[in-house]
Amino acid sequence: MQMTAEEKDTNRVATESNATREIFLPPERERVKDGGTPHVSAKNFSVFYGNFEAVKKVNADILSRYVTAIIGPSGCGKSTFLRAINRMNDLIPSCYTSGSLLFDGEDIYGRYTDEVQLRKKIGMVFQKPNPFPKSIFDNIAYGPRLHGVKDKKALEEIVEKSLQKAALWDEVKDRLDRNALGLSGGQQQRLCVARTLAVEPEILLLDEPTSALDPKATAKIEDLIEELRGSYTILIVTHNMQQASRVSDYTMFYYEGDLVEYAPTKQLFTNPRDQVTEDYITGRFS
């Protein structure tokens, strides 16, 4: 398959530091429209907890509208990196960063960056479903209300649209006023996705979104990710390698805070360049 120079360029993942590594989408994944530009770019980006460097000098571009998986053994810094992108780490007093992390060319940790506005554009779904102890409706409407939507009609519209996008509408449309904690775990997690979508983010950060769910609910979430691919830039942390290979276009492999390898998913799983990556994906350690 021949590619134009421009296409090659937009699909290149690695940054200047390893510019020689040109990687492409595996042919069986459809390319998305208007995607593939660097949405988040890390340049020598490190995250520290006190003196401990949990993410070490990462250089990478996250491509817009594609799904990028982050894998690696527990404690390797996956969550830390993910949470750095929407500055959730600000909640941890000892945490600080160095290097730069750009979102649409703007420094996320810039002095004038408003982290509240930033989090509106970069939404997050957590490992354990965490709906508020409020009604389903109020859960979804929480974000829009926060950002000034007051009109009842508009809110209802947003709630319906978001629930539909999260493939939950049909299951809950008759009981929007019920407490969200009454839903099943899988439904709760999709509710959290819907809640995040309701503020119309550009990027979705998913931190092991299925690790607390049963296989059936997991499949639903994976379908949902497939559905959202192409509309949102999605980053998903997972320790399940099958999941990474099923849902993602690109995969980052972290090991002890280092971004060891970053490549199209197919390539990373079938033909890893690094010995550590190979050891990990072949299950020699986990």
Partner: protein, 448 residues
């Protein structure tokens, strides 16, 4: 340790545990049963016609017709008593001076008891104090007085090794052969016809003011005072406490200053309440002069300072127990910290905060020491809401102490003390119960 020994140890521990719980329950029973029966006695008792007269004259309760009919009913029996007294008084006039003097003091006692039972004796000047304007209102008190009338209490000091022993001598013996001797059997036989005891439900005990320092009447002023003081304390302490708890949990950095504040708070929680009372007097009344002297305001502020540490601690714990995930979810949606606290953290922490608040409310209602110098008076009028800034008030806790220890007729009004104790306990229990219900309600709403 082998299995057998372990089992035996387990069993014996169970036995010890059950025993100690039973002991506690028994101790509680010993305290609660008399409070309950005594307290009920303040409301449900055999009331005499004197009780009904007071109710009508002072509170306009009851019917004139019934009272007039009953007065007509008792009058002939009472007249006979007064006739005997008159006859004896006339006899005394004819006695030798020495004999007369001897009888005079003994007779005075008899006359006093009769007046105590039936009210002022016709022909005597109208007494000024309300307590002497009426006879005995409660039948069991009347029976006690009757016993006093029938018998003279004497003490046996014959054996110096032992404590003196009490014994009774019929009072009639002192008047043998005189006209008065007829009084004793007559009183014993006809007392009920002179007082007409009836089972009485006296709800007014809870809703009426007291008459003549609790000799008659109810305890409304105390109940209302307790309410004002406790609610006033809450108005100050609750918002302040919650705000302080938010500061401690969400804003304070861990540094020297914060840890000093924290330990100050813990220390305050353990300070004896009398110290708060003195502090309230010294600070609120003498230094910043919130009022010229004791007032509900000063008392409420003092109580507020006392319960503040408890409220802070309870609210802190409630806030800390809110899952971090809620906070992350809210922040992740682009909420500010303040908004997250208001819309997510506080609602989720509400059950715990409410519980702490209401338990503190109960404590504020029950404490005595902090209000001794700042708010409480032993006998006072029922005050209006507008008076809370300037006026002191009676309150249950303080008046229980006062009636039991300082009242000139403490023995006569045990039922009032029990009534107050039962009211106070009921108020505190009710508050705690409502805390439990409210908490359950809010938690259920949160859990869905």
């Amino acid at each position: 340790m082998n299995l057998g020994t372990r089992k035996i140890l387990d069993r014996s521990f169970t036995a010890v545990g059950i025993t100690s719980i039973l002991l506690m329950a028994a101790a509680l029973l010993v305290v609660v049963v008399p409070i309950f029966s005594g307290g009920i006695g303040a409301i449900f008792f055999k009331g005499t016609i004197e009780h009904r007269k007071i109710q009508y004259n002072e509170f306009e309760k009851g019917s004139r017709k019934v009272i007039d009919r009953q007065i007509a009913e008792v009058t002939p029996y009472r007249q006979e008593v007064y006739r005997i007294l008159d006859a004896f008084e006339a006899d005394m006039e004819t006695m030798e001076p020495a004999e007369k003097r001897d009888y005079l003091s003994k007779y005075k006692k008899v006359r006093d008891i009769v007046a105590h039972l039936l009210g002022p004796i016709p022909g005597d000047p109208e007494p000024i104090l309300l307590r002497y304007q009426y006879g005995t209102t409660r039948w069991e008190k009347a029976e006690e007085s009757l016993h006093d009338l029938m018998f003279v209490t004497k003490w046996d000091y014959s054996n110096p090794e032992e404590m003196a022993k009490q014994y009774f001598v019929p009072r009639a013996d002192e008047f043998a052969g005189t006209a008065l001797a007829a009084l004793f059997p007559y009183m014993e036989k006809n007392l009920d016809k002179m007082l007409l005891p009836e089972q009485t439900f006296y709800w007014g005990f809870l809703t009426e003011r007291s008459l003549d320092a609790h000799i008659f009447g109810g305890i409304w002023a105390e109940i209302q005072g307790t309410f004002f003081l406790a609610v006033g304390a809450m108005l100050f302490a609750f918002p302040l406490g919650v705000i302080a708890a938010i500061y401690f949990t969400e804003y304070a950095r861990e540094n020297f200053f914060t840890s000093v504040l924290r330990s100050a708070n813990s220390t305050l929680a353990g300070v004896p309440s009398i110290v708060f009372g003195l502090f309230g007097l010294a600070f609120f009344i003498n230094t910043i002069k919130v009022s010229d002297s004791k007032s509900v305001l000063a008392g409420s502020l003092t109580l507020a300072i006392m319960i503040l540490p408890t409220i802070i601690r309870a609210a802190e714990e409630a806030i800390l127990s809110v899952p971090r995930a809620y906070k992350e979810a809210s922040m992740g949606l682009g909420s500010t910290k303040w908004r997250t606290i208001l819309t997510v953290i506080l609602p989720a922490a509400l059950p715990g905060i409410i519980t702490g608040g209401i338990i503190s409310l109960g404590r504020a209602a029950g404490e005595t020491a902090p209000i001794i110098f700042t708010a409480a008076v032993s006998v006072g009028a029922t005050i209006g809401v507008a008076d809370v800034f300037t006026q002191p008030t009676p309150a249950l806790s303080w008046n229980i102490y006062n009636l039991a220890s300082e009242h000139e007729a403490a023995n006569e009004i045990r039922h009032v003390q029990y009534g107050m104790v039962l009211s106070l306990i009921s108020i505190v229990l009710l508050l705690n119960l409502s805390a439990i219900l409210l908490r359950a309600h809010v938690s259920k709403k949160l859990k869905g």
